[in-house]
Amino acid sequence: MIRVVLPPHLRTLAHVGSEVTLEVAGAVSLRSVLDELEARYPMLRGTIRDHVTQQRRPFLRFFACEQDLSHESPDTPLPDAIASGAEPLIVLGAIAGG
């Protein structure tokens, strides 16, 4: 089980609370987690990653386990604590938060 914390505006769009849980098959990476998040909540497509380029939107950041993963390769495995659900992957708006 993967836990993802979304910023308030995206919670509203997805009709969810502060944290969502996902089941991700195979390797747990930013790409696989976001793919599953968008499959489960398609109204979030285009809000975290660009529809066409699949690049992270510039004012969004990815934090986990007190690390900034924003500039990691999308296919880099996420920390074990994320893969096990012990810690959440945090998606947030940079600084002012939008």
């Binding site: 910023p7 505006h9 769009l13 009709h15 285009g46 975290i48 529809h51 004012f59 939008g98």
Partner: protein, 394 residues
């Protein structure tokens, strides 16, 4: 009795203001989509309960919202209304996908435009500035976007396709952003000729198609602009807004960056009608619903001082199609007022007498139920108003 529904988009959400035909007492609904920039909302002429809304954010990008019940409930087209969808009925979620067409079939439209410094810059989608629903089909709607391009949906906003012939015209490398970005902000559908559409771009100018959007031509003859090397060039003009009366689709009125202009031949030629305006810089322009020669503007002091002239909020009306203007001030602040009125923030209803509405950067939405003779605020303290549309309902 008839009713009116005013759709106000603001920097921090959308508001819906409703009244009966007297337009004296108003109900206010909102904020909808609280905290988001609502660039534009507009209802379908074919189904007044069908509304489209552009919800945007520099952080989270573009969201398209649709209502099928006059604004009571909203959903992103392609996702079911109400609760979050659950697999396996997962919708596509493509309603906010605006992908520029670079296909060989459409001539591979040029993919760079001029940047502020004169260099070339790639086309990048930022937001929808304006929706123009079809006059006959609620599921067909046009979207004017930044960076400037025209998109169309024929499935109620679920998916969008570019009308690439506009960028394919070939003058794209000369288009450049205005202060608000390089936006396609005006879309006018000709009610007498379904193949004719007018659009306007800051800062490229006005364009017209006569074949349903396949090919386009610039219609800027007569415009002069100080901020381009060739002041009467074919393209490069910062057109702020264009308005048309549906009974006379060949007559167009334009508020340019500076200058109020008029065309009597569907944009082929323009002449200035600024006349006795105190300043001819401004953003909005609109036409009385029943008097095609009566037009309205709100003069703004200058392009470096985006607020009304002399601290007075004045709507100017010409009953002669331009040149001769009168200030309309009754009910509007006439001292210490420094608000702006943006290009899509004025609208007219079709009641008798014609109602005029506009919103300000100070968060006021003003209404006149007597064609501009007198004004009163509907609301005074909204976030900065980006757009105002009105629907006249049975």
């Amino acid at each position: 009795m008839s009713k009116v529904r005013v759709l106000a988009g603001t920097r921090k959400g959308a508001f819906i203001l409703t009244s009966d035909g007297k337009r004296e007492k108003w109900a206010v609904s909102g904020p909808h989509f609280a905290g988001w920039e609502m660039y534009h909302m507009k209802g379908s002429p074919a189904d007044p309960n069908r509304l489209y809304a552009s919800q945007t954010s520099g952080w989270f990008g573009q969201i398209i919202q649709r209502s099928d019940d006059g604004g009571k409930t909203w959903h992103q087209p392609g996702t079911p209304p109400g609760a979050a969808p659950t697999p396996p009925a997962v919708p596509k979620g493509d309603s906010n996908k605006f992908a520029y067409d670079t296909s060989a079939e459409t001539g591979k439209p040029l993919t760079t435009h001029q940047w502020y410094d004169g260099t070339q810059h790639p086309w990048e989608f930022k937001r929808v500035w304006h929706f123009e629903p079809s006059l006959t089909d609620p599921d067909t709607v046009y979207a004017g976007v930044e960076d400037a391009a025209l998109f169309r949906s024929t499935d109620g906003g679920e998916t969008w396709a570019e009308l690439a012939g506009l960028r394919g015209h070939g003058t794209g490398p000369k288009w450049q952003p205005g202060a608000g970005g390089m936006c396609l902000h005006t879309i006018i559908l000709d009610p007498k000729n379904r193949d004719r559409i007018f659009i306007a771009i800051s800062a490229a100018g006005a364009f017209r198609t006569d074949d349903g959007g396949k090919t386009w031509k610039p219609i800027n003859r007569g415009l002069r602009s100080q901020y381009i090397p060739d002041q009467d060039a074919e393209v490069g003009h910062c057109v702020h807004h264009v308005a048309m009366h549906p009974a006379r689709p060949n007559v167009l009125f334009m508020q340019k960056h500076w200058d109020v202009m008029r065309s009597d031949d569907a944009g082929d030629n323009w002449r200035e009608v600024s006349g006795n305006l105190p300043t001819d810089f401004g953003f909005v322009i609109d036409v009385h619903a029943h008097e095609p020669e009566t037009i309205y503007v709100v003069p703004i002091k200058s392009d470096s001082e985006h607020y009304v002239h002399e601290g007075k909020l004045r709507v100017y009306r010409s009953k002669a199609g331009g040149n001769e203007w009168e200030a309309l001030t009754k009910g509007l602040p006439q001292s210490n007022c420094y608000v702006n009125v943006l290009r899509d923030a004025m609208a007219v209803d079709s009641l008798d007498k014609c109602g005029i509405y506009f919103g300000t950067s100070g968060g006021q939405v003003y209404a006149s139920a007597d064609a501009g003779d007198t004004w009163a605020p509907i609301v005074r303290d909204l976030p900065a108003v980006l757009s105002v549309e009105v629907q006249t309902l049975p």
